[in-house]
């Protein structure tokens, strides 16, 4: 099971790749949309990217309701624990 730190790093990597931004811009409190500029299609791509990265299946609505990087770390840690724990 990956630690929350490892999950955060991997989330930052995926976010950097999909949104084409500098990783230094990404903080726990960063909002994917308001702060990092994710448009609706990119939000869907982020969900897909996280699913591939962590080999998980997320509920679309639940995943899209997660707005910040910190909340994504918690949510993905929970799903990873459920599906790989």
């Amino acid at each position: 099971m990956p630690s929350n730190e490892e999950i955060r790093d991997r989330i930052i990597n995926v976010t950097t790749m999909i949104l084409n931004i500098d990783p230094s811009q990404i903080k726990d409190e960063s909002d994917f949309s308001a702060d990092l500029g994710a448009e609706s299609l990119q939000s869907v791509e982020l969900v897909a990217g996280f699913e591939e990265e962590f080999e998980i299946e997320m509920d679309e609505e639940e995943a899209l309701s997660v707005s910040s990087v910190g909340a994504a770390v918690e949510y993905i840690a929970k799903v990873v624990a459920e599906q790989h724990g």
Binding site: V44, E45, V47, A48, G49, E52, E61, L64
Partner: protein
């Protein structure tokens, strides 16, 4: 005696259009396959058999006629395959017990009540398999459609047959002096509540044209027969070429050729749709175009349920499931199967020939999108705009279709995910 219209086991060949309706409700010509059967055997009471999850929504369209009710068919029966494209047949409901067959398929079964009572159990298809063995068979040369493209292929012929059978002609509606019928006026029927604006040409030189009540045809539209324009539809400056069936409450512009638009769908803007079948509640964005002919003029192959099928036809367009929306500039390849309730952001490239149902398709990739609840909300909004109620039965039926298409969607979504992180 009762007329029983049933679906056989080949309904998947008509996906995605048959995901939300019995195969016999597909339109060919001015009417559906079932309307042609009812018309051909019009003196009989009717019962229907379809897949269980469609029964409740289908029931709302047929009034009190029994649907999937085995107790209602304790009678002499004339049972007909819903895939029968029944035009000008010499076959009658009355006659000796027999099974009319074409190749390996049942076309009809004529059976007496005592045989029904002897063999009818809990399933109409098991009953049909039994009577196929015990009753005499007769080979018949009737048309059974096998795939969506067969329906499109026969559409012109069905339009002509429907026009002759319905027997209406003449311009009864409001037709502006600066519009005209080009060709034989007896081959045109414009209903009394239809309105035709100036600078419209109804060209009946190639076949008959029917324009139903509530239709408005806006200026600079040219409609070639054979063609049927269903009630309350608007033709907005369209080049409607031969062989088109446009169902009720559509808005159609651009260029359309030998295509069927089932109803309640919009193709308002420029762009070409040819040799295609479009389901209900579809919106094709501006400049959405399908190819219907390969550059080498070879026959078109369609991938259906994962299997490539040679259509043996050189002109095959797209088959677009209900509630699907396309963005501006979407380009469909020749012989494309486009799933239902899918949101397509086309971009500048020609899309793959198979697009799954209930997904978001963007940048050449399939995504799960925003979820089923959001898709159902959008459907409810779209239907509400046309004063059509979105019922719990609709919700249940669409949810079932979502589950049925899950495997195909997941496979496409997983493939797309790998591409995202490998780019």
């Amino acid at each position: 005696m009762k007329l029983v219209i049933y679906e056989d086991s080949t309904y998947e060949n008509f996906y995605p259009l048959s995901l939300v309706r019995p195969v016999f409700e597909l339109r060919c010509g001015a009417t559906s396959l079932s309307e042609k059967l009812r018309r051909s055997f019009s003196n009989l009471d009717i019962a229907y058999f379809t897949r269980d999850y469609l029964a409740e929504t289908f029931q709302t369209t047929v009034g009190n006629a029994p649907v999937n009710d085995l107790q209602a068919i304790d009678d002499d029966l004339f049972i007909v395959n819903g895939r029968w494209l029944c035009m000008n047949t010499q076959i009658t409901a009355e006659g000796p017990e027999e099974v009319g067959v074409k190749e390996d398929s049942i076309v009809y079964v004529r059976v007496q009540q005592e045989t029904v009572r002897k063999y009818l159990g809990q399933n109409i298809n098991e009953f049909l398999n039994t009577v196929l063995e015990v009753l005499p068979q007769k080979a018949v040369d009737e048309e059974l459609v096998s795939y969506c493209w067969n329906i499109v292929h026969h559409n012109s012929e069905a339009l002509v047959a429907d026009f002759q059978t319905l027997g209406q002609s003449g311009v009864h509606g409001e037709m502006h002096d600066l519009s005209c019928v080009y060709g034989d006026e007896s081959q045109v029927f414009v209903a009394s509540e239809a309105v035709i604006h100036p600078m419209v040409v109804l060209d009946s030189t190639g076949g008959p044209i029917t324009v139903e009540d509530g239709v408005t045809i806006f200026p600079h539209s040219r409609i070639e027969g054979p063609c049927h324009v269903g009630r309350d539809t608007q033709i907005v400056g369209g080049k409607i070429r031969e062989g088109c069936s446009i169902g009720p409450v559509c808005r159609v512009g651009g260029e359309v050729e030998e295509a069927i638009i089932h109803g309640y769908s919009n193709k308002y803007h420029d762009g070409f749709l040819g040799h295609a079948y479009v389901g209900e509640w579809v919106n094709l964005g501006a400049l959405t175009t399908n190819s219907d002919l390969k550059n080498d003029y070879s026959t078109v192959e369609v991938k259906l349920n994962g299997q490539p099928i040679d259509t043996n036809d050189t002109k095959v367009g797209s088959f677009i499931g209900d509630h699907t929306k396309t963005s501006i500039g979407t380009l469909f390849n020749t012989g494309s199967i486009v799933g239902m309730m899918t949101n397509i952001l086309g971009g500048s490239e020609i899309l793959p020939k198979t697009i799954p149902s209930f997904c978001l398709f963007a940048n050449g990739k399939a995504f799960k999108g925003f979820g089923l609840r959001k898709l159902l909300q959008t459907a409810e909004t779209a239907m509400g705009r046309r004063k059509v109620a979105f019922t719990e039965a609709d919700r249940s039926m669409l949810t079932h279709a979502y589950e049925l298409t899950k495997d195909e969607r997941q496979e496409a979504v997983k493939k797309s995910r790998r591409q995202i992180l490998s780019n």
